[in-house]
């Protein structure tokens, strides 16, 4: 059904490793720790299926470590359910794929807009945004790893303006005065900076450019976009978050942006992660607490008002974002598959059940994401309750508490 995307062999390998690790780690952890219920407690009984069904998703590589780890666990606990391996093909392609109905859900870090639909829908189709629902499934941050050999400092401090100038090619060397001013005690080499960015249409690029635009509008006047950035000479464009991570790891004097969990997945990237100056003027490394603070500073996100970058607060990490699953409001496949889809996404977007089993957001916590806040978990549930089957019936059944 899907074209095998051999370009992403590297990602698949990562996926296999992540899945294997989580298969071991998640149940082990669930057994030793009682999972704290957050907000709307998830009920284990809800994931039972009467009929066997198969679903699959593709899109955001921001969400790939979460999807890969969670899918294996969901399949292990739910008989009859088959979830095809998540394809990390980038947010833009996730949206294209759901519009072409070649996946059951599309992963994107930027909720799909009518403009996206107009430009990507299949020839002759006339879809409207109201035909789709967007479910928040993860909360993460964008880390700025760098690879400068011989740098003894624990972390470099960078601002949005400096990052914007680096990506524009205005700051060319590591010992530029602007970087020196932010890191007065660090001996910086006179080496040319190699800028790494995404080659594919990417939600991570959107979150990063959204941050640059909001925090340094004078330097970075262009609107945030998923499209590949125009890089300075010598810049490297990598495919997917795994590609960018590999390029930074392999290229001395490079700097790039990846989803936080990719830094955790590639310990060699941990050697150099920039502290980013937030709206309160405090330089912070990406941490779960900092990302959670960003979410807490703007609790009322929706699929049309979703940006949580550059939020106020001394402890707020400034480059954070939600990742979403785009689905059809009226399920386009068999009811059994639609039921599996809503049950999986419901499980995925919730924290541990009252009965102590592990749900999607507990997996997320292990993968370097921040569990969705209670109100966002409720938003996911409310959104999924709108999904209807072939006869217009609601597919998600919650058997109360």
């Amino acid at each position: 059904m899907r074209i095998p995307r051999t370009v992403r062999l590297a990602l698949t390998m990562t996926a296999v490793v992540v899945t294997a690790v989580s298969l071991v780690a998640v149940p082990a952890l669930a057994g030793t720790r009682s999972v704290k219920a957050v907000g709307d407690p998830y009920l284990a009984a809800d994931t039972r299926l009467n009929k066997s069904a198969t679903i699959g998703g593709a899109g955001s590589t921001f969400a790939a470590p979460l999807q890969n780890a969670a899918q294996a666990l969901f399949q292990a606990r739910t008989s009859n359910a088959t979830i095809n391996g998540y394809q990390g093909v980038g947010s833009g392609t996730g949206e294209s794929d759901i519009l072409k109905k070649i996946v059951d859900w599309g992963g994107t870090d930027v909720p799909m807009s009518q403009t996206d639909i107009n430009s990507k829908q299949p020839y002759g189709a006339d879809y409207t945004l109201s035909q789709f629902l967007q479910v928040p499934i993860g909360l993460g941050g964008v880390a700025i790893p760098y690879n400068v050999p011989g740098l003894t400092a624990k972390t470099l401090t960078l601002t949005a303006a400096v990052l914007a100038n680096i990506y524009l090619g205005n700051i060319k060397y590591w010992d530029n005065a602007a970087i020196k001013a932010l890191n007065p005690n660090v001996k910086l080499p006179h080496h040319q900076i190699v800028v790494v960015a995404r080659a594919d249409s990417s939600g991570t690029t959107y979150i990063f450019t959204d941050f640059l635009r909001r925090a340094a509008k004078t330097v970075w006047p262009t609107l945030p976009s998923k499209s590949p950035l125009t890089l300075p000479t010598g810049g490297i464009a990598g495919s997917g978050n795994p590609g960018v991570a590999a390029d930074i790891e392999n290229t001395p004097n490079s700097i790039g942006y990846v989803e936080y969990s990719y830094v955790l997945l590639n310990p060699s990237l941990l050697k150099g992660v920039a502290s980013i100056v937030n709206a309160a003027g405090v330089a912070l490394l990406p941490t779960k607490a900092g990302i959670a603070a960003a979410a807490a500073a703007k609790p009322d996100v929706t699929s049309t008002n979703f940006s949580i970058v550059w939020q106020a607060g001394k402890t707020t990490y400034p480059i954070a974002g939600y990742t979403w699953a785009v689905i059809w409001k009226q399920n386009q496949t068999l009811d059994a598959e639609g039921t599996l889809l809503v049950k999986y996404l419901d499980w995925l977007s919730h924290s541990g059940a009252v009965d102590g089993t592990t749900a999607g957001q507990d997996v997320a916590a292990l993968q370097g994401y921040v569990p969705l806040p209670a109100n966002i978990q409720a938003l996911a549930r409310a959104t999924l309750l709108q999904v209807t089957g072939q006869k217009g019936q609601v597919l998600l059944t919650t058997n109360g508490s």
């Binding site: 093909v89 990507k120 594919d200 249409s201 499209s227 810049g235 464009a237 392999n250 001395p252």
Partner: protein
């Protein structure tokens, strides 16, 4: 007196046999002719549909940007600016680097396999070449990225830079992932193709000519250069043409090691982009206009391949012509 038959028995049955064969072969011929003719028409039709559909699909891009697709210098998918000149340059540069190494080494290797290497080793080398030719390109890409890139960046590129003192074409900084690396990975990919095809072409040069030349006192090197290579010229040109087409169109392996930056590479250590890898990476999430622009890239790539083929044919025809004159 025994009567001698006027005609031998064999000749007597000759007439009906010819008749039979004729009738049978006429039927067979028409069926054979029909099948082959049908197949070639179908092939021409498929090619025509393929080319026409690419031309048609690229029309919106030509309307949008005109010929600046060919000579424009800025390729930015996000802002719908489609200037493919740097991408064309990257494609030509990687191919040139690959052929620069692959042609002499490949032909030399083929000559060695046929005429210099002893029997057992010959078989071993031959099967090695065929093995390398069958390795999928993604494997070459991974190998280039994981094994060769770090070596290039730590050893090869700094050494090269020290030759020119960091001047053109080896300006800093060494990046590993680069035009040079992409060219070298392509070199390794097209090498077995050149070796295998040239080897076959060299092997069919009649042994009489080889031995004849030796017997009039030519040295082995002279024989290889003056007798064997000209004799195999058609096949070798064909091998190089195919290798060039493959290098121009290689997608996955190049996408993994070139850095995909659609800018003019000022240095061999700089990143660049190629037509095929740009198409592969950007089509998945492209608006109809962007798909058309990628179609235009495909058209440019096809035109480049066609030019290479035409040039190859000319070379071959030229040599055949000269051979005829001699």
């Amino acid at each position: 007196m025994p009567e001698v038959p006027a005609t031998p028995p064999l000749a007597m049955s000759d007439q009906p046999l010819t008749e039979n064969r004729k009738r049978f072969s006429v039927k067979g011929d028409s069926a054979h002719w029909g099948v082959l003719y049908g197949a070639s028409v179908l092939f021409a039709l498929i090619c025509a549909v393929f080319i026409i559909s690419i031309v048609v699909s690229s029309i919106p891009a030509w309307r949008h940007s005109g010929l600046s697709i060919i000579y424009g210098r800025v390729w930015s998918q996000g802002s719908d600016s489609f200037g493919a000149l740097p991408i064309i340059a990257g494609t030509l540069a990687t191919t040139a680097i690959a052929l620069f190494f692959a042609i002499p080494i490949g032909i030399g290797c083929a000559l060695a396999i046929v005429h210099l290497v002893p029997g057992r080793l010959k078989i071993f080398l031959s099967s090695l070449v065929e093995l390398l030719a069958a390795v999928p390109s993604v494997v070459y890409g991974l190998w280039g990225l994981l094994v060769i890139a770090p070596w290039f960046e730590k050893t090869v590129e700094p050494d090269l830079a020290s030759i020119t003192g960091g001047k053109f074409p080896f300006q800093a900084p060494p990046e590993g992932v680069s035009l040079l690396l992409a060219g070298c990975v392509l070199f390794v990919m097209v090498l077995p193709m050149i070796v295998a095809l040239s080897r076959d072409a060299i092997a069919i040069v009649p042994n009489d000519q080889f031995e004849g030349a030796l017997s009039v006192g030519a040295t082995k090197w002279q024989v290889l250069r003056k007798v064997v290579l000209p004799g195999a010229r058609t096949g070798i040109v064909g091998a190089v043409t195919l290798a060039t087409a493959r290098a121009l169109g290689e997608t996955v392996a190049v996408a993994m090691v070139i850095g995909l930056n659609p800018l003019f590479p000022p240095s061999l250590f700089s990143t660049a982009s190629t037509l095929a890898s740009t198409i592969a990476l950007q089509f998945q999430d492209a608006t109809p206009l962007q798909v058309a622009a990628l179609g235009a890239l495909a058209l440019i790539l096809m035109a480049m391949t066609a030019v290479v083929n035409w040039f190859g044919r000319r070379l071959v025809r030229g040599s055949a012509f000269r051979a005829g004159v001699i």
